[in-house]
Subunit: 186 residues, 2 copies
C-alpha cells in the first residue's frame, strides 16, 4: 500500500502523477524532450540509458516499463535490453553507447564520480557535448524517478504483457498522454 492516498489503478509513477498533476506536467515535458525529442541518439538508445540507470537503482517499475519501451523501439529485442542491464560492455550496442552508459552508471552513484577519462572516452568514440549532457541528465532524472516512485511506496504490476502494452502506448502517444488517459489497471 502506498504511503499516501493515491488514485487506484495507476501503477508506478502514474499514481503520484494523477495525485499531483501540477508537478506531473513539467515531469512529463522533461521526459518528452529528453527521451522523445529530436536527437542524434535514437529513441531506443535513450530508453536504454533510462533502463540501465533504473536497473542500477533497483526500481522495479522504472526498469520494466522503460526496458519495454526500449525493446519496442529496438524492434522488440528484449534480449538486447537484458544484456545491457546485465553487462553493457558485452552487449551488441555501439562503442559510443558503451561509453555513454559508463558515464550514466557513474552519475547513478553520484555526479562527482564522472571523470575526465570517462568523458574523453565518449568523445573519442564520437559523442557530442549534447549527447554527453543528455546522458548525464537522463541518468539524473531516473535517480529522481526512482526516489519518487519508491519513496511513496507505489506498486508495480508483475505481468510482462502489461509493460509491453504500455510501451506501445507511450511510443505512440508520448508520456503525458499515456500517463493520464489509457490502460488503467483494475
Amino acid at each position: 500500500m502506498a504511503h499516501i492516498n493515491l488514485p487506484e489503478g495507476f501503477p508506478g509513477i502514474r499514481g503520484p502523477m494523477m495525485f499531483r498533476p501540477e508537478t506531473a506536467k513539467p515531469l512529463n515535458e522533461l521526459a518528452e524532450v529528453l527521451l522523445r525529442g529530436p536527437h542524434t541518439l535514437s529513441l531506443g538508445e535513450r530508453e536504454l540509458i533510462a533502463t540501465y540507470v533504473s536497473a542500477r537503482n533497483d526500481c522495479n517499475y522504472c526498469q520494466t516499463i522503460h526496458g519495454a519501451i526500449a525493446a519496442h523501439h529496438l524492434g522488440g529485442d528484449e534480449g538486447l535490453v537484458r544484456s545491457v542491464k546485465l553487462d553493457f560492455e558485452q552487449a551488441e550496442i555501439s562503442e559510443k553507447m558503451k561509453a555513454l552508459l559508463a558515464i550514466a552508471g557513474k552519475v547513478q552513484i553520484g555526479g562527482k564520480n564522472v571523470t575526465f577519462e570517462d568523458v574523453a572516452r565518449a568523445r573519442e568514440l564520437g559523442a557530442t557535448d549534447l549527447e554527453i549532457h543528455d546522458t548525464v541528465l537522463i541518468a539524473a532524472v531516473f535517480c529522481m524517478c526512482t526516489r519518487y516512485v519508491d519513496g511513496l511506496a507505489t506498486w508495480a504490476p508483475e505481468d510482462p504483457d502489461f509493460y509491453r502494452q504500455r510501451a506501445a502506448l507511450v511510443a505512440t502517444h508520448g508520456y503525458a498522454a499515456a500517463t493520464f488517459t489509457a490502460n488503467r489497471v483494475t
Copy 2:
C-alpha cells in the same frame, strides 16, 4: 573545468540550463511549482528541505544557493539554515518539519528506506498527503539536480555574498527568470 563546453559566467545548474534551454524549461517549471507555488508549507520550509537534501548530497552549489534562498525567506536567519543542515532534530523548526526532513533524508539515500513509521510520525504531527508527497518529490528532485550539476563538473563561486544576492533575485523573480537574465559572474 566543466566536462562539456558550457556558456561562461553561469555557475552551478545555470551553465547546463543555458546550454540546453529545452530541458531547462520543464526543470524550472518543476522548481516553481514545488518551491514557490501555493502551499501549506512556507517558502522557507520548502527551501529548507531542498537545502538539507543538497547538503546530504554534498553538492556545494545546490546547498549554498538554496540555503541562501531559505535564509532569505526566513528573515535572513542563516543560523537556522546551518542548524537544519547540521542536526535538524535539534533545530528551531516545527516538529512536523522535523518529521518531513526525516523522510527527505531517507529519500536521499533511496526511496525504499522510507518506512510506514516515518510517514505515520509525519501524519501524527499534522502533515497532509500533499505535504508528504511534495517532501518526497523535492528530495528526489534535488538528488537529480546534484547529479546534473556534479556529473557535468560545473563550478560554484565561493563568495557567500554572491549567493545572498542570487537568493534575493530568485525570491523576487522566480527560478526561470533568474536562470537566464541576471547576475552573470564575470
